[in-house]
């Protein structure tokens, strides 16, 4: 009885779309969390692809970022996911590949256009199999309102001391909220705060790898100090920042009410279309003048093939195109702030995007510490860091407690390879 019932329920949901797909051309559906980019895909990227491949029709189907993984996993399990799956970096996509939900792409035409570093986020631990085509990385830093800086008469800060001096000036002046960030959504505090300024403390890749190797702990000073710095941001945030959401912060900045926005480069495109003042960007300030600077240059987005896709050939055509320099240039300019991982250099028109990318020349790059390997278990380190970063800024936890709590969570499941 149960089986029959299940069969009927399944049949009605599965067969309905199957009947529609009988048409001449092949339909491809892309699952994505980039709902901000919907117009870019619909107006620029997909038409460019369809012009070359008239018999393939592509639909971009994005959803809310925080719901993406749970929804797409459920869809993959149920067999209703789209043909192309946008890949989160590292452990999340790796888990999908290990479950056989993503197809290996080693022999995909065009995958040779990427370096090993570019592919690292979507390659198995042994480095043998790549399962997503790398699309872009994002860089963290601070975006500032140039007009506000001129009005108040401050220079772009290079060191932490200068940074806080600038914030003090803005606070004294009173016209602008010095820093546009809230803690309500929690992830801002970690992603724009801890992951943004942290690499300068834990020395980028050195610290991240040492954490994975177990030679450094989250309770070590280089991992706790960034929390202490975050806690010092509190007086410079807007009134009621505890209830300020991510869109609130974005709007405060683009409406010209805030001076500095702790940012990820993905903000560039939406900010450009909304703000009517000139914007500049600076990398996370170093502790002392002359220190090596480290930036978070995080492989953020890739695209893979649903192993159960009925249109695998058409999907592979699309993926090869995504791997081509043509796509790299198109995407990097249509969505400035998403920097191509293609080994062919890409010319970008956008000034602000160029500014972000220029930091790669002087600073050492790293990825977010919670993304690879230590982000695999329960409790999830990334979510833990969201929570404690928000707590530290709210003042409900000390930096030391934050470090101890995250380390305790990590210890509960993670045993570094000896």
């Amino acid at each position: 009885m149960t089986r029959l019932m299940k069969g009927m329920l399944l049949a009605t949901t599965m067969l309905a779309p199957a009947g529609l797909a009988q048409a001449q051309e092949t339909q491809l559906v892309i699952e994505s969390w980039r709902n901000d980019d919907l117009p870019i895909w619909q107006e620029k990227i997909i038409p460019a692809f369809e012009a070359k491949n008239p018999n393939i029709k592509v639909t971009f189907a994005p959803m809310a970022p925080t719901e993406y993984n749970s929804a797409v996993n459920a869809k993959l399990d149920a067999g209703t996911a789209g043909d192309l799956i946008t890949c989160r970096p590292f452990d999340l996509s790796l888990a999908m590949f290990e479950k056989g939900q993503l197809a290996p792409l080693n022999d995909l035409k065009g995958i040779e256009n990427f370096t090993d570093v570019g592919k690292s986020a979507w390659t198995t631990d042994d480095g043998k199999t790549t399962f997503c085509v790398p699309m872009a990385s994002v860089i963290h830093g601070f975006i500032y309102n140039k007009k506000a800086f001129e009005e108040v008469g401050v220079e772009v800060p290079k060191t932490e001391e200068e940074f806080f001096a600038v914030l003090d000036k803005f606070k004294e002046n009173g016209t602008y909220i010095p820093l546009a960030m809230g803690t309500k959504d929690q992830w801002e505090a970690a992603t724009m705060g801890y992951y943004n300024i942290g690499p300068n403390y834990w020395k980028g890749e050195d610290g991240r790898k040492a954490l994975i190797a177990g030679t450094e702990k989250l309770t070590d000073p280089q991992w706790v100090e960034p929390y202490a710095t975050l806690a010092k941001w509190k007086p410079y945030l807007g009134d009621g920042f505890e209830a300020q959401t991510y869109p609130d912060s974005q709007n405060l900045f683009t409406l010209g009410r805030a001076a500095i926005y702790p940012a990820g480069s993905w903000e560039i495109a939406p900010f450009k279309s909304q703000a009517d003042f000139e914007m500049g960007a600076f990398p996370p300030p170093v502790k002392k003048a002359g220190d090596t600077c480290y930036i978070s240059d995080h492989n953020d987005i890739g695209i893979g093939l649903n192993a159960k896709s009925a249109n695998a050939d058409a999907a592979k055509t699309f993926l090869s195109w995504v791997a081509s320099p043509e796509f790299a240039e198109l995407y990097a300019n249509a969505a400035p702030g998403f920097f191509s991982l293609n080994s062919t250099p890409v010319k970008m028109e956008d000034k602000l995007a160029q500014e972000f990318v220029s930091w790669r020349e002087n600073c050492k790059t790293t990825i977010r510490p919670s993304a690879a390997i230590v982000g695999r278990g329960q409790p999830n380190l990334d979510l833990e860091m969201w929570r404690v970063s928000a707590n530290v800024i709210n003042g409900s936890e000390t930096p030391e407690q934050a470090g101890a709590e995250t380390q305790k969570g990590l210890d509960s499941w993670y045993k570094p390879a000896k």
Binding site: D239, G240, F241, E242, G375, S396
Partner: protein, 316 residues
């Protein structure tokens, strides 16, 4: 053969033909309800006894429950969610239901003008989507764009304003009160109907005995609407322990800040479906769902078998 038939008819003279139409008419509802409610419920209960062991779904007995209550983090999350949920329920019982009863009592005053208008106006939020309610209140209470700080400023109360939804101490109470605002119409309507059901003769008899005004409410009306209050309490209990939507729209799936508004529903959502980088864990999700089911079952049984039996009912 025919003799036996006649015998039968003789033995049971009032035997009616088989009433097939009952089964036929019940079938659609029964099938749909079974497919969308009962089967999933049984499947969920079953799933809570299974887990993935070495890549295979296996029967693991009660070990999921052991993990839920034994693992220090998971159990801390669970008890935190349960405690918040109990507070959420208590606030509804202490605020929503008394206000609902008071409103109903006022509406049933025969001389009240615009009663129909008040009744609809108070009931309208209940009809609104929780998404709209959540969004509106988030905007009203927003320290940046909200109307609340401005209104409070007008009456010189700006000092009392705080980002209530963002502070761990106040967030749960605030969300509970938003929920109260939305659903206060339901107890009001039920009690209102119960109050209208009280025959005039009873009230007139009371008046003859000199029981009027407040004492009439306490001594006559309240005992007569007690069964309705009981039903409302059960509905509130079930609704609150199943709650998820409003918290999710106002505070997000993490039940922030720092888990202050995390209730069983949001904990279940995060565990079952996963959230952001946390992977979904169906078995553990089903385990939490089972515990929620048991909590609600226990509460409802307590009402049905203990409280309802002792309640006195009056027939008019």
């Amino acid at each position: 053969m025919s003799a036996a038939e006649t015998d039968d008819i003789d033995a049971v003279p009032a035997r009616r033909p088989a009433r097939w139409h009952i089964a036929v008419f019940l079938a659609p509802a029964f099938l749909v309800y079974t497919a969308v409610m009962i089967l999933p419920l049984i499947e969920t209960l079953r799933l809570s006894f299974f887990n993935v062991v070495a890549g295979q779904m296996q029967f693991v007995g009660l070990s999921n429950f052991q993990t839920l209550f034994g693992d220090p983090r998971l159990s801390a999350d669970f008890w935190n969610a349960l405690r918040n949920n109990v507070i959420f329920f208590i606030i509804h019982m202490l605020v929503q239901n008394p206000i609902g009863i008071a409103l109903a009592a006022m509406l049933s005053i025969p001389k009240l003008r615009f009663a129909a208008f008040y009744r609809s106006a108070i009931f309208v939020p209940t009809l609104l989507s929780f998404v709209i309610v959540g969004f509106i209140w988030k905007l009203i209470l927003s320290p940046i764009w909200g109307i609340a700080p401005w209104l409070m400023d007008l009456v010189g109360m700006k000092w009392a304003f705080a980002p209530w939804l963002g502070k761990p101490e106040t967030a749960l109470v605030t969300v509970s009160l938003i929920s109260v605002w939305q659903y206060v119409g339901i107890p009001m309507m039920l009690i209102y109907a119960a109050l209208l059901n009280i025959p005039d003769e009873v009230l007139e008899a009371a008046e003859c005995d000199g029981i009027t005004g407040w004492s009439q409410f306490w001594k006559i009306k309240l005992p007569l609407i007690l069964p309705s209050i009981g039903i409302i309490s059960v509905l509130t209990f079930v609704g609150n322990f199943n709650a998820f939507d409003l918290i999710y729209t106002v505070q997000g799936a993490l039940g922030g800040p720092n888990g202050a508004t995390d209730i069983l529903g949001t904990l279940l959502y995060r565990t079952f479906f996963g959230f952001q980088n946390q992977m979904g864990d169906r078995s553990m999700g089903a385990t939490i769902a089972t515990v929620m089911f048991l909590i609600i079952l226990a509460g409802v049984s307590l009402y049905l078998f203990v409280i309802q039996r002792r309640m006195r009912r009056y027939q008019f």
